[in-house]
């Protein structure tokens, strides 16, 4: 069985500062993907960043980057130069080739202080 744990229900950061959201996961699969999705109040889940487990290099998308520690089963998201539009719920998710479905964490609500 796959599990995803986000231990920070809420986080806040000053605009233009950097914040890191934590995520740990568990799976017995060797081939899997990890994702961070953003869910604003509109409810639309938006993909922020994706990491393939076989890749050692950490994924980066503009101001968003991850710290993927495969042995520790840790997958944190770093947001640099935080902007007001980054305020949302952030979900960490795990997907495997075998199961197809995504398993989500409980989410972290990120607030950006102006």
């Amino acid at each position: 069985a796959q599990t995803v744990t986000q231990s920070q229900p809420e986080m806040s950061v000053q605009e233009a500062e950097t914040v890191t959201l934590s995520c740990t996961y568990d799976t017995s699969e060797s081939d899997y993907y990890l994702f961070w999705y953003k869910q604003p109040p509109s409810r639309q889940m938006i993909l922020v960043i994706r990491q393939e487990a076989y890749k050692q290099q950490n994924a980066t998308e503009n101001r968003f980057s991850v710290n993927f520690q495969k042995a520790a089963k840790s997958f944190s998201l770093k947001i640099s130069d935080s902007q007001l539009g980054d305020a949302a719920m952030y979900f960490c998710a795990l997907g495997t080739q075998g199961a197809q479905k995504l398993v989500f964490g409980q989410g972290t609500r990120l607030t950006i202080n102006p």
């Binding site: 993907y33 639309q44 994706r50 080739q97 197809q100 989410g107």
Partner: protein, 115 residues
Amino acid sequence: GAGVSQSPRYKVAKRGQDVALRCDPISGHVSLFWYQQALGQGPEFLTYFQNEAQLDKSGLPSDRFFAERPEGSVSTLKIQRTQQEDSAVYLCASSPMGAQSGIQYFGAGTRLSVL
């Protein structure tokens, strides 16, 4: 369409009523998923289709929940005899066939409130 479309956006049902929620996936996407998201929680998997075949329905909470995708495109999630615990946001997602990325594209969901 440009993205995954779900309707209605909001649905209020009296306990015991049947409801039907619709999902229009991105054109050409073979895989379709339904998730249930309770208030303040992460989405939880309900069921998965590849074309018209329902390959995994392990997440459906009871036999009151039924999903179909008869022509391999539009899907409907039906809930019979709704209960208050069915109140949640129902999210639909689609993915192209053979996508090695595993990325799923989500709709904005249907918020179901059972009174």
